[in-house]
């Protein structure tokens, strides 16, 4: 018996996990379609474009929070049958990883395509643009954007193995601390280079496109992608590194 990875055993584990959490996906899908129905009703009642609900943001939040959605918490009473189940730690991690990193994004993309399709076929054309916006987002998904979402998601993946309770709040707080420290390091680094003569600020939009800027410099570090440290941290280290950390943490959890 292979004690690290056996495809047959992994398949059984994935089916078990999927069976456990699939009702949640049905619930999320139902809520999503419920919101869709409300936006369409709004559109017909007020004869305008649909109520401004961003299904794209809804989808991105679902992907980022997927590790929480596919997890029921670790405790000394509730997790016994999971930890004593004859599958390797790697397989148990891989099952969670597949649900969060593959299944949830696929679910969200299919969901968004369905919503976009439905908007576009609604009679009267009032919802046509809303559908186009979703399609536009999906068509313009870049590697950087996917990596950025993965990076945020990987924080929550680590979080479910590090924290036993209040995972969402603890991870959110950790993210804030992480980015504050990150900003501090960036500012110190930047001041050293420009001898402290620059006025530096930082802010962010969802994709961090103006995370840090130097108002005095013509060669300002506008945008996330112009800084190699930010780029590497968010696109490479965060998802891959945190996946490894998650696996190592899962291996050493005692209950």
């Amino acid at each position: 018996m292979n004690n690290i990875f056996d495809i047959d055993r992994f398949g059984k584990l994935f089916v078990r996990e999927f069976g456990t959490y699939s009702p949640k996906l049905v619930g999320i899908g139902s809520v999503g379609f419920g919101i869709f129905a409300l936006t369409v009703i709004y559109s017909y009642v007020f004869e305008s474009a649909p109520f401004n609900f961003s299904f794209v943001t809804f989808g991105i939040v679902l992907i980022i929070l997927a590790p929480l959605i596919f997890h029921k918490g670790i405790d000394r009473i509730g997790s016994i049958f999971d930890f004593t189940l004859p599958a390797s730690s790697f397989e148990k991690f891989a099952a969670k990883w597949c649900l969060s990193v593959i299944l949830m994004p696929v679910f969200v993309i299919v969901f968004l395509l369905l919503i976009a399709g439905l908007y576009k076929v609604m009679p009267g054309g009032l919802c046509f643009d809303a559908g186009n916006q979703i399609i536009h987002f999906l068509k313009n998904l870049s590697f950087e954007k996917v990596s950025f979402i993965s990076a945020f998601q990987s924080f929550f993946l680590v979080g479910i193995f590090y924290f036993r309770k209040h995972v969402f709040w603890k991870v959110s707080l950790s993210l804030i601390v992480y980015f504050l420290l990150f900003a501090l390091v960036f500012i110190l680094f930047h001041r050293n280079i420009f001898a402290g003569s620059r006025e530096i600020s930082f802010a962010t939009n969802f994709f961090g496109e103006t995370v840090f800027s130097d108002a005095n410099s013509s060669q300002s570090l506008f945008g996330l992608h112009s800084n190699i440290f930010v780029y590497i941290s968010l696109n490479m280290v965060a998802p891959f590194g945190l996946w490894v950390v998650s696996f190592l943490k899962l291996r050493e959890i005692e209950i």
Binding site: R9, K12, R16, R76, I77, P86, E254
Partner: protein, 275 residues
């Protein structure tokens, strides 16, 4: 075989649960006895890989349990005293989980459930604590794992169910199996358990078969208070006592008396049973 070598474990530094404990368990229905907090449940958790030794090792068939290797886990079933049962139907739980255990027998599961007068098409959420325990005992025994760890299995079972439990364990036991039952309810299991392990203050006080115990100790009833007994208890018929078996007399083991005698004479018992 379960091998525990120089095992040390603590939850808080300076307050060891186990300190340099070594013993082995092969086959049999082991009774794991000890006062509250001596580490019975912790020992079962270490054996099942849920807790890791701080020093020393705990191995099942030569593999460290802390590795949680699938082939080791597939040899062990652990039923904790407290558990959170799933909310799904029993049949679904069996379908999802039993496939990981190569020797699971559906027929056995149904037979044990029938012994406990339980139906398999009910939801866990509809069952009482005792009923959930019956399902999990039936499931655990029908997995046919060589090692079964049961933590206070008779807690929560009603009086008829305790007899059913003994029947299930007796029918599931074969000479290649090691069933470890941690319990305070020794009277429920008196006729079932052999050998007996008594844990006490970071150490093993006794780890012997019933035959070895009754060869060295006598369990008797007398009208007058006996002298030189390890432990004496007065009752309506006089005195029950545990004493040294100097004449090779065969008496019936009373586990509760044995436990009290062992706890009251720690050093003597360790010397007597070569621990």
């Amino acid at each position: 075989m379960i091998e525990i070598n120089n095992l040390s474990f603590y939850y808080k530094k300076g307050k060891p649960v186990f300190e340099q404990v070594s013993f082995e368990m092969a086959t049999g229905i082991y009774g794991l006895l000890g006062e509250n907090g001596v580490g019975k449940s912790t020992l079962l958790r270490i054996i099942s890989g849920l807790r890791f030794p701080h020093l020393g090792e705990c191995k099942i068939d030569g593999t460290d349990t802390f590795r949680r290797a699938p082939d080791t886990l597939s040899k062990v079933f652990y039923l904790p005293e407290e558990f959170e049962s799933p909310t799904i139907k029993i049949n679904r739980f069996i379908k999802d989980n039993a496939k990981f255990y190569p020797n699971f027998s559906r027929e056995q599961f149904e037979a044990y459930m029938s012994d406990f007068e339980m139906e398999t098409d009910r939801k866990f959420s509809e069952l009482s604590y005792g009923q959930k325990k019956k399902v999990l005992i039936s499931y655990g025994m029908s997995l046919n794992t060589p090692y079964v760890l049961l933590d206070e299995p008779t807690n929560g079972l009603d009086i008829p169910s305790k007899a059913q439990f003994r029947k299930v364990i007796a029918s599931a036991y074969d000479e290649d199996r090691c069933i470890i039952i941690s319990t305070h309810q020794v009277r429920d299991l008196e006729s079932l358990i052999d050998p007996i392990i008594i844990l006490d203050r970071n150490q093993v006080l006794l780890n012997n078969s019933v035959e070895e115990i009754t060869r060295k100790l006598i369990f008797k009833q007398t009208q007058t208070k006996p002298e030189n007994a390890f432990y004496t208890e007065s009752n309506l018929m006089g005195y029950s006592y545990v004493g040294l078996n100097a004449t090779g007399e065969e008496t019936t083991l009373n586990i509760e008396m044995l436990f009290n005698a062992a706890v009251a004479n720690r050093t003597t018992f360790k010397e007597l049973f070569n621990i």
